[in-house]
Assembly symmetry: C2
Homo-oligomer: 143 residues x 2
């Protein structure tokens, strides 16, 4: 029941970008160095964020990435849903899944729905801006 590195790194990347935001672009190389994540692996994560309109990329010299929205407008739920595919704890509650044939008789469905809801409510209540307020002083992260 662990969040994968993709989800965890995506949050770190976005916090990093928000903290080092300037008029121009931020390159993958910068982020990779600060966050100590392989540039190539970062690439695959950022690509997902580009595809979903969270960040925008600009190619060529002087290029890089920038946030498409302010950190206040990016929730953890949105980011994690993009990277993990879904925040649902069981397959039958993933977005787009076919409704279960026996849902009406299922003794556990209500429990899983409740779990999904508390996770979703919490993650929607927390933004990149909120995370910038927490923790210490540097660019140091572990998880």
């Amino acid at each position: 029941m662990l969040i994968s590195t993709k989800g965890r790194y995506a949050l770190r990347i976005l916090i990093d970008m928000a903290e080092h935001q300037t008029a121009g672009c931020i390159t993958l190389q910068e982020i990779a160095q600060r966050q100590d994540i392989s540039e190539k692996y970062l690439e695959s994560i950022v690509r997902e964020l580009v595809k979903k309109g969270i960040v925008a990329g600009q190619r060529g010299k002087g290029g890089g990435y920038r946030l498409c929205r302010s950190p206040e407008q990016i929730t953890a739920a949105e980011v994690l849903r993009i990277m993990e595919g879904s925040l649902a704890p069981v397959a039958c509650l993933t977005e787009g899944a076919a409704p279960c044939r026996k849902a009406a008789q299922c003794r556990t469905l209500d429990f899983w729905r409740g779990l999904r809801d508390v996770i979703d409510d919490y993650a929607r209540s927390c933004t990149i801006a909120d995370m910038m307020q927490t923790g210490g002083d540097g660019d140091d992260y572990i998880i």
Copy 2:
């Protein structure tokens, strides 16, 4: 971020046992038939529950399993923690994990702690007895 079949099945098994509780024992075969889960796979799940004192096994003819506690006293959190190893969403918050060197500087740690807490609070608030009250009329489950 999915709960594995072990965790999901364990809840179904315990609900099944609670609903079909008698003076004697319930055999794996019965549960396997009602729940439509392979007897062999059930075995590996129930063994974990025996080891942790949730159910007790009795060998030989007329043997089987029975709950060691009333359904009101078995929480989802306890069962899922046994089967999944932990309910923590990130490795650095799993029980017994070494505290992270840079925890003080981490921008995301507070978020993960909060997520762990809402999951844990919710799962501790729900018991096997609660789940018996929900859903429909039969022994039918899917997830």
